[in-house]
C-alpha cells in the first residue's frame, strides 16, 4: 500500500512538473467553492423559473419524418435541425411548418469519396446572406433556407478554424492543438488561437500517455449566449471554468458528497488506467461526468452522470449562486404557464439527459422532446379537463405518438 502511495505521489509530481513546463496557468483567484448535495435539491413550479413556455410541434409529413433533434440552430424565420438517424438537415419555419430537407441525395456523387454522409451543419454568412453550411466528403456545400444548393467549395487543406467556437473578437477555441517539437509533440485539450497564433494553452498531454486508457480526458466548452465568455468543464474534475478570449479561469469548484465523488486524483493517477468501466460498475453512485453547464444571471445549470439508471435519482440541477438554492430540473412541476405539460423529458425519455438545452441565450432556452412524451403527458392529464392553446389542440387532434418531436421554447426569469 505504501509502495503504491509513493509511486502515485512520484507520478503526480513528475506529471505536474511536465505540465507546468508547457501549459499556461489557470487563474483561480476568483474561484468560488460550492458544496452541493443532490439529495437536498428542491422542486419548483415552472412559473418560478420561466415566464413563458411555447410548444412548437415540427410538422410531420412523409418527407419530414425524422428521429430526434441532435443539433438545433435558428434564424429569424427558421428552425434548422440535424437528425443523425435519418442523416438529414431539416428546415422548418418558426411555426414548425416543414420547408425542406437536405440529405446526401442533394449532393453530387463524388467518385473519389466513398462516404458522403455528414454529421452536422453550421449557419454562416456568405455574401451577406445567411446560409446552411454542410461539410461532406471533400466538399463544403452551401444551401439556402429553401434547401437549394447555392455553391460548393473544396474543403481547405490547411486547418482554418472556420467552424470553431469563436469569441466576438475573433479568438478561436481549439480543443486539440498540436505543438510540434523537434523531439516530440504535445497536444493541448484547450487552446486560444488568435489570427492563427496561439495565445494560451491549457491541459497538455502526449499521445503515449493515453495508451491503454479507457477514459477520455478532454473537456467540453458550453455556449451560454455570452459572446465574450464560454463555460468549460474538464473531464473527471468537478470544476466549472470560465473561458474568455484571453484566459481560462476557475470559476466554481464543486464538492459533492463522498459517495458521489470520484477520487481527487482519478483523472491523473495511472492506477485507474484501463479500469474505468470496472470502477464505475463498482461505484455506481460516483459522478463520472459533469456536463451541460450554462450560466443565466445567478442561475448555474449543470448535469451529472453516474451508473445508476433510476429515475428517482436527481441529476440535472439549477444552482442559484445568490440564494444557494438547489433545484432539480426533473422536479420542475408543470403548471398553467406550460399548459400543465412537462418542460423537459427528464421524467420519461433521454433527450434532455443527453443533450441538455439545445440553445441557450439570455432571452430564451430551447429544448425538445418526442411526441411520445407529449402524448404520455396528455394521457395522464386526461381526466383533468386541461385546455390547450390552438397549436397544441390541433397537434393532439391530428398527430400521434409517432409524430415528429416538439420544440419547447422557454423564457427564463432573470433571477
Amino acid at each position: 500500500m505504501l509502495k503504491f502511495a509513493l509511486c502515485s505521489l512520484i507520478t503526480c509530481i513528475l506529471s505536474y512538473g511536465q505540465i507546468m513546463g508547457q501549459a499556461s496557468k489557470v487563474d483561480s483567484s476568483q474561484m468560488t467553492t460550492l458544496r452541493i448535495d443532490p439529495l437536498a435539491a428542491r422542486g419548483a413550479a415552472v412559473s418560478q423559473f420561466f415566464d413563458e413556455v411555447t410548444f412548437t410541434p415540427l410538422e410531420t409529413t412523409k418527407e419530414s419524418l425524422f428521429g430526434a433533434i441532435q443539433q438545433l440552430k435558428m434564424t429569424d424565420e427558421h428552425y434548422v435541425v440535424y437528425d443523425g438517424e435519418t442523416k438529414a438537415v431539416l428546415i422548418f419555419t418558426k411555426a414548425g411548418k416543414y420547408v425542406a430537407k437536405i440529405n446526401a441525395s442533394k449532393f453530387e456523387k463524388d467518385p473519389d469519396v466513398k462516404d458522403q454522409s455528414f454529421y452536422g451543419f453550421n449557419i454562416v454568412k456568405e455574401d451577406d446572406k445567411q446560409t446552411i453550411q454542410i461539410r461532406a466528403g471533400k466538399q463544403v456545400y452551401y444551401f439556402d433556407f429553401s434547401g437549394k444548393l447555392i455553391k460548393k467549395v473544396p474543403v481547405p487543406k490547411e486547418k482554418n478554424y472556420t467552424n470553431y467556437k469563436k469569441f466576438s473578437d475573433g479568438t478561436v477555441i481549439d480543443q486539440n492543438f498540436l505543438e510540434k517539437d523537434e523531439k516530440d509533440s504535445t497536444y493541448y485539450y484547450l487552446s486560444l488561437i488568435k489570427d492563427n497564433k496561439r495565445v494560451e494553452s491549457y491541459f497538455s498531454y502526449k499521445t503515449e500517455d493515453r495508451k491503454g486508457d479507457d477514459r477520455w480526458h478532454g473537456g467540453r466548452v458550453y455556449d451560454y449566449g455570452n459572446p465574450d465568455e464560454f463555460l468549460f468543464i474538464k473531464n473527471y474534475q468537478y470544476n466549472i471554468y470560465k473561458l474568455t478570449s484571453s484566459k481560462l479561469s476557475l470559476a466554481y469548484q464543486i464538492f459533492f458528497p463522498a459517495a458521489n465523488s470520484l477520487p481527487m486524483d482519478y483523472g491523473t493517477n495511472p492506477v485507474y488506467k484501463g479500469k474505468a468501466f470496472d470502477y464505475y460498475e463498482k461505484n455506481r453512485d460516483a459522478f463520472y461526468e459533469m456536463t451541460n453547464s450554462y450560466l443565466h444571471f445567478n442561475n448555474l445549470y449543470f448535469q451529472v452522470r453516474n451508473f445508476n439508471w433510476s429515475r428517482d435519482e436527481k441529476k440535472a440541477f439549477i444552482y442559484n449562486l445568490k440564494t444557494t438554492e438547489l433545484t432539480s430540473i426533473a422536479d420542475i412541476e408543470p403548471d398553467s404557464i406550460s399548459q400543465f405539460l412537462p418542460v423537459t423529458d427528464l421524467a420519461s425519455q433521454y433527450d434532455f439527459t443527453n443533450k441538455g438545452f439545445l440553445i441557450v441565450n439570455p432571452e430564451y432556452f430551447y429544448t425538445s422532446y418526442s411526441s411520445l412524451t407529449m402524448f404520455t403527458a396528455k394521457e395522464q392529464n386526461e381526466e383533468k379537463n386541461r385546455k390547450y392553446d390552438a397549436v397544441l389542440t390541433q397537434f393532439f387532434k391530428t398527430q400521434n405518438k409517432k409524430s415528429n418531436p416538439v420544440i419547447i421554447k422557454l423564457k427564463p426569469k432573470k433571477n
Binding site: G67, A68, R311, A347
Partner: protein, 944 residues
C-alpha cells in the same frame, strides 16, 4: 355422463359470470397526489396501496405517475379503507378514508411525504407491495398477507401483474419468464415449480423481475429475456424440504415416495425415490422431484396417474441432484458451477394388446391382419451426469459428461393371423421372443468460447468458439426367437424357426466444431473493405461402429444349436464427415428515436459436405465403400420490428439442406427370414436422399402494459429428393418383402401456433390458451410394384381455459381435437379418424385444510371404418392436511370411478389403418398418507 359434464360446465360458467358481474359492484374511486412539501416536489413512482381498514386486506396498488398522481377505480364504497404511500427514502404516509356511497368518489388532495431521517430509524416502516428499483420490478413478500403455510406460488397468484399458467409457465405483464433463480442461482436444476411450490412464502424477502440484457443503456433490447429472482430473507438461504408418502389401494395398487432437498448458499443436494404400480413414471430426477413437492394449500389440479399409458408398469426410481456454486454470488462475468445428477430406474411392464390392421394391397384388395401381443418387460437404467460451467471476463468454458447403464429383459409373444377381404384365413404367424440386453454408453462434451472483454475498433481478433463431443457405446444382447408360419392358401410352404442371436456392438463418435467470427477483421484489421460479416465454420465427425452378430439355429434332428452361416457376421463401419463452411451475414438497422427499431439480417452459409463411409464385413457383398460430396447451403432472413409502446415482432425465414446417406442395413442387409410378415431386402444402388427445408416463424410480443396479447406461429415445408422409401410386396398370406429404393417427390409441410391470454379480474383469473399444429405429407412408395403416393394429414388442436377464484376454486377445461386422414392415390383408398378429448378438472378448497379434486375426461374416437368408441374417465380425490404447518396430508382417491378405461388403439399411416385395444390401468381406490418436513433458516431463528 356427458350430461353431467355439461351441467358442471354450465354451473362453472355461471360462477364466472357472477364474478364478472361482481366486478362492477365496486364503483368507488379515489385520487390524490403525493408531495414532498419540505423539498417541494411531487413523488414520481411512489407506491400507493389501498387496504381494507378492518383486516388490512390489500385491495389494490398503484405507482404514481409523472405528476405524482394516483387514481384508483373499482374500490368498495361505504367501507373504511386505508391508503399507504411508500417510496424509497421516505416514511410511510397513511390515510384512513371511506368513499361516500352517494358520490362514489373521494379526492384525498395532497398527501405529504416526509423523508426518512437517519435519526428516526426506529420508526416502523411498512413495506410497499411493489416498487421499482432502477430497472428491476420488486414485489415485497411482507406486504402480501398470506397463510403461514403459503408457498411462493400462493404469493405469485396474489400479484396482479403475474400470471401462473396451467402448464407451469409464468408471465409478467404477458411476457414469459424464461429463467427463475433463487438468490441469483438456479434452484435444484431450474424447474420453476420446485422453487415456487416448496419455498415458504415467509422465507422470501422479495421477488425481482428484470430483463437480462447486459447492456443496460441500449435503447433496443432486442435479445433481452425476462428473468425472475426469488430473494430469500437473510438467514433463510439455508434449509431443507421434502416428502415421505405411502398409499395403498384396491387391486393391490400402491405408491410410495420420499424426497429430501437441502440447500445452503453454495450447495444444493436432493435425494428422491419412488415406487408404485400405477403408471406414475418419472424418467429423470427432475420429474421425480417435481412430483413430490409440497404445493402449498392453494388450489391445484392434481398430478394424475397416466391412464393412457400402454400396459401397466411398476416403476421404482431413485434420483439425486447435486449442485455447487464455487462463487456464492455468480454473475455473467464470473461464475463457476458444478451440477451432478444420478438416476436409477427399475421398471416392470405388462402389456397386452389386441388389434386389427387393414392394409391396401392394390386398388381393390386388402389384407387384414389380426394381432395379439403379450409382452412382459423389465428394465433397469442407471444414469450419472455432471456439468461444469466456468465463466470469467470473456472466457467461457463448459463440460458435460454422462454415463448410462441399461439392463433389460423382455418376453414377447405375438399371435398374428391374416385374412383377405372375404374373411378367409390365409396365413398365421406366431412367434415367441425372449431377450436380454445390457447397454453401456458414455458421453462427453466440452465447449470453450472466447470473446475479448474489452473491444476497441483496433481489436482484430474477436474470439472463437470450439466444441468437442465424444460418444461411445457398447451394447450386448441375447435373443431367442421361435416362429411358426402356416399358410392356408396358395403355394407358400409352412415354415418354422428356432433361432438364437448373440449380438454385440461398439461404437465411437467424435465431433469437432470450430467457429471463428469476423474473419475479415482478423485479416484486414479495421479497414472496412465490405459491410459483410464473415464467419469461418468447420465441422468434423469421426464415427466408427462395430457389430458382431452370432446367430445359431436349432437343428431339429440333433436338437443342438448350429451356427447360421448366413446370418453369423461381423461388420465394421467407419465414417468420416467433414463440413467446411463460410457463413456470410449482412445486417441492416433502421431506427427512429421513440418510434421504432427495425433490423434485418441476411445469412448465407454455403458449406460442402464430404462423407466417406467404409464397411468391412465377413460377407464380401457387404464390403461397400461410399463417398458422398454435396454442396449443402443454409440461408436465412430475419426481421425484427420493435414499435415503441405497441409491439415487438420478429420474423425468421430459413432454408437448410441435409443429406441422409443409406447405411449398410439399407444397402446390403443380411435378411433374417424368421419374420415372414416383414422381410427386408437391400439395395446396393441406393443413393443419398437430399432434404431441403424452408422454415418460417413469426413471434409477436405486446409492449403495452395492460391486457397484453402474445402469440407465435411457425411453418416448415420441405422436399426430399431421392428419399429412401419402401417398395413393399405383399402376398395373399400377408408376407411382406420390403425393398428399399430411391424415389422423388417426398413433400411435407407442418405448422404450429400458440396464443395465450389472461384476464386478471379482481378476485379471480381467467386464462385462455390455444395451441394447434398440423402435419401434412406426400410420401412416394411402391406397393406390389405399383408406384403410388400416399398423402397424410394430421392435425392437433388444444384449447384450455383455466379459471381460479381467489384461493378457493380452480377449474380447468381442456378440449383436444385431433384428426388424421390418409389417402393412397393409386388404390384410391382413404382412411380418416378423429380423437376428441374433453377434460374438466376442478379443485375446491372446502376449508384451508380440506380440498376436493375431480377430473373428468371424456374421450371420443371415431374412424371411417369402425364404430365410434366413447369412454369417460373420472378420477376424484379428497385431501386433508393437518398438523401445524400443514405438514401432514391424508388423501383418499378414487380413480376411473366409472370403470370405463378401455384404452383404444386407433391410428393410420401410409396405406394401412389400425384399430384395437390394449391393457391399461383400470378402476382402483387408494388411501395415501404423506408427511412434508420443511424448514427454512436455522432452527431457533425461525421465530420472528
Amino acid at each position: 355422463m356427458s350430461k353431467l359434464t355439461k351441467l358442471t360446465l354450465a354451473f362453472l360458467l355461471s360462477i364466472t359470470c357472477i364474478t364478472l358481474r361482481a366486478q362492477q359492484v365496486n364503483p368507488g374511486s379515489v385520487k390524490g397526489l403525493v408531495r414532498d412539501t419540505a423539498q417541494n416536489y411531487v413523488l414520481k413512482s411512489a407506491t400507493i396501496s389501498v387496504y381494507k381498514a378492518a383486516d388490512s386486506t390489500l385491495l389494490s396498488y398503484q405507482v404514481t405517475n409523472n405528476y405524482g398522481e394516483f387514481n384508483f377505480k373499482n374500490l368498495p364504497v361505504n367501507l373504511p379503507l386505508r391508503l399507504d404511500v411508500s417510496h424509497v427514502g421516505y416514511m410511510t404516509s397513511r390515510k384512513q378514508f371511506t368513499i361516500p356511497a352517494d358520490k362514489n368518489k373521494i379526492d384525498l388532495q395532497t398527501i405529504i411525504a416526509t423523508k426518512r431521517d437517519v435519526m428516526l430509524n426506529d420508526v416502523v416502516i411498512s413495506v410497499p407491495p411493489i416498487s421499482m428499483n432502477g430497472d428491476t420490478l420488486e414485489f415485497n413478500a411482507a406486504a402480501f398477507k398470506l397463510d403461514s403455510n403459503a408457498v411462493v406460488e400462493d404469493l405469485l397468484r396474489m400479484i396482479p401483474n403475474i400470471t401462473l399458467w396451467g402448464d407451469g409457465k409464468i408471465t409478467v405483464n404477458g411476457k414469459e419468464v424464461k429463467n427463475l433463480l433463487v438468490n441469483g442461482k438456479s434452484f435444484f436444476g431450474g424447474d420453476m415449480k420446485l422453487a415456487t411450490q416448496n419455498l415458504a412464502k415467509n422465507s422470501v424477502q422479495k421477488i425481482q423481475v428484470y430483463n437480462t440484457s447486459r447492456n443496460q443503456g441500449s435503447a433496443s433490447r432486442v435479445d433481452s429475456t425476462l428473468e425472475m429472482n426469488i430473494k430469500l430473507k437473510k438467514g433463510k438461504d439455508i434449509g431443507f424440504f421434502g416428502k415421505i408418502g405411502f398409499g395403498y389401494g384396491t387391486n393391490n395398487r400402491f405408491e410410495t415416495d420420499g424426497s429430501i432437498n437441502m440447500f445452503t448458499p453454495k450447495m444444493q443436494l436432493a435425494v428422491v425415490g419412488a415406487i408404485n404400480n400405477i403408471n406414475k413414471i418419472a424418467d429423470n430426477t427432475g420429474d421425480l422431484m417435481s412430483n413430490s413437492t409440497f404445493k402449498g394449500v392453494g388450489t391445484n389440479v392434481e398430478y394424475q396417474p397416466d391412464f393412457r399409458a400402454e400396459g401397466i408398469s411398476r416403476p421404482s426410481a431413485l434420483g439425486a441432484n447435486f449442485s455447487y456454486n464455487f462463487i456464492e454470488k455468480p454473475t455473467y462475468e464470473l461464475k463457476s458451477t458444478l451440477k451432478s445428477n444420478y438416476f436409477l430406474q427399475d421398471r416392470n411392464t405388462d402389456y397386452l394388446s389386441d388389434f386389427k390392421t387393414t392394409t391396401s394391397v392394390n386398388s381393390t384388395d386388402k389384407v387384414i391382419e389380426k394381432n395379439q401381443t403379450i409382452n412382459e418387460s423389465s428394465n433397469t437404467t442407471q444414469k450419472f451426469d455432471s456439468y461444469y460451467e466456468y465463466a470469467k471476463k470473456g472466457h467461457n468454458l463448459e463440460f458435460f459428461q454422462e454415463v448410462k447403464f441399461d439392463r433389460g429383459e423382455n418376453n414377447n409373444q405375438t399371435f398374428r393371423s391374416s385374412t383377405n377381404v372375404e374373411d378367409v384365413l390365409t396365413s398365421t404367424n406366431n412367434s415367441l421372443n425372449t431377450s436380454n440386453n445390457y447397454n453401456k454408453s458414455f458421453r462427453f462434451s466440452g465447449q470453450y468460447q472466447y470473446s475479448p472483454y474489452i473491444i476497441t475498433p483496433k481489436t482484430r481478433f474477436r474470439g472463437f468458439n470450439a466444441e468437442y463431443s465424444l460418444n461411445t457405446y457398447n451394447n450386448e444382447s441375447e435373443r431367442l426367437n421361435i416362429t411358426e408360419f402356416k399358410s392356408f392358401t396358395g403355394t407358400a410352404s409352412n415354415q418354422k424357426f428356432n433361432r438364437k442371436y448373440n449380438t454385440s456392438s461398439d461404437g465411437l463418435r467424435q465431433e469437432f466444431n470450430l467457429t471463428i467470427p469476423d474473419v475479415k477483421r482478423l485479416i484486414f484489421g479495421s479497414k472496412n473493405y465490405s459491410r459483410l460479416n464473415f464467419n469461418l465454420t468447420n465441422k468434423l465427425v469421426l464415427n466408427s461402429d462395430k457389430n458382431i452378430n452370432r446367430v445359431q439355429d436349432l437343428d431339429t434332428l440333433t436338437n443342438v444349436y448350429k451356427t447360421n452361416a448366413y446370418l453369423d457376421n461381423q461388420i465394421r463401419t467407419n465414417l468420416i464427415e467433414e463440413t467446411p463452411g463460410l457463413k456470410i451475414e449482412k445486417s441492416f438497422q433502421k431506427s427512429l428515436s421513440n418510434r421504432y427499431y427495425k433490423s434485418f439480417t441476411i445469412r448465407f452459409h454455403p458449406k460442402q459436405l464430404l462423407i466417406s463411409q467404409d464397411n468391412k464385413s465377413d460377407r464380401s457383398f457387404q464390403n461397400l465403400k461410399r463417398n458422398y460430396s454435396r454442396f449443402a447451403p443454409d440461408a436465412g432472413l430475419s426481421f425484427y420490428n420493435h414499435q415503441y409502446g405497441e409491439t415487438s415482432r420478429s420474423y425468421d425465414l430459413s432454408y437448410s439442406t441435409k443429406i441422409n446417406i443409406p447405411n449398410i442395413n439399407q444397402m446390403a442387409p443380411l435378411t433374417d427370414s424368421t419374420n415372414l410378415y416383414y422381410l427386408q431386402r437391400g439395395n446396393v444402388n441406393l443413393k443419398e436422399g437430399v432434404q431441403r427445408e424452408l422454415s418460417f416463424r413469426f413471434d409477436s410480443n405486446d409492449q403495452r402494459s395492460k391486457n397484453t396479447l402474445n402469440y407465435y406461429v411457425g411453418i416448415n415445408a420441405g422436399l426430399i429428393a431421392n428419399n429412401i422409401v419402401d417398395s413393399l410386396l405383399i402376398d395373399e398370406q400377408n408376407r411382406r418383402t420390403v425393398y428399399l429404393v430411391n424415389a422423388n417427390g417426398h413433400k411435407y409441410i407442418n405448422g404450429y401456433g400458440n396464443i395465450r391470454k389472461a384476464y386478471k379480474l379482481k378476485s379471480s383469473e381467467l386464462q385462455l390458451s390455444l395451441s394447434s399444429n398440423f402435419n401434412a405429407n406426400k410420401n412416394p412408395g411402391y406397393t406390389n410394384s405399383v408406384f403410388t403416393f400416399s398423402t397424410n394429414l394430421n392435425t392437433y388442436t388444444n384449447v384450455n381455459i383455466n379459471y381460479t377464484y381467489k384461493s378457493y376454486l380452480a377449474v380447468a377445461f381442456g378440449q383436444s381435437y385431433n384428426t388424421s386422414h390418409s389417402k393412397q392415390e393409386a388404390f384410391n383408398t382413404e382412411y380418416s379418424g378423429t380423437n376428441m378429448g374433453t377434460t374438466l378438472s376442478s379443485s375446491y378448497n372446502v376449508t384451508k385444510r380440506f380440498t376436493l379434486n375431480s377430473n373428468v375426461t371424456f374421450n371420443k374416437n371415431s374412424s371411417s371404418i369402425a364404430d365410434d368408441i366413447n369412454f369417460t374417465i373420472w378420477n376424484a380425490s379428497a385431501v386433508y392436511r393437518f398438523l401445524k404447518g400443514n405438514n401432514a396430508e391424508f388423501k383418499f382417491s378414487a380413480l376411473d370411478l366409472l370403470h370405463q378405461n378401455t384404452s383404444v388403439i386407433n391410428y393410420g399411416n401410409a396405406n394401412s389403418f389400425t384399430i384395437g385395444t390394449q391393457n391399461v390401468l383400470k378402476q382402483y381406490f387408494m388411501a395415501t398418507i404423506s408427511y412434508y418436513p420443511r424448514q427454512f433458516g436455522k432452527k431457533g431463528k425461525d421465530k420472528k
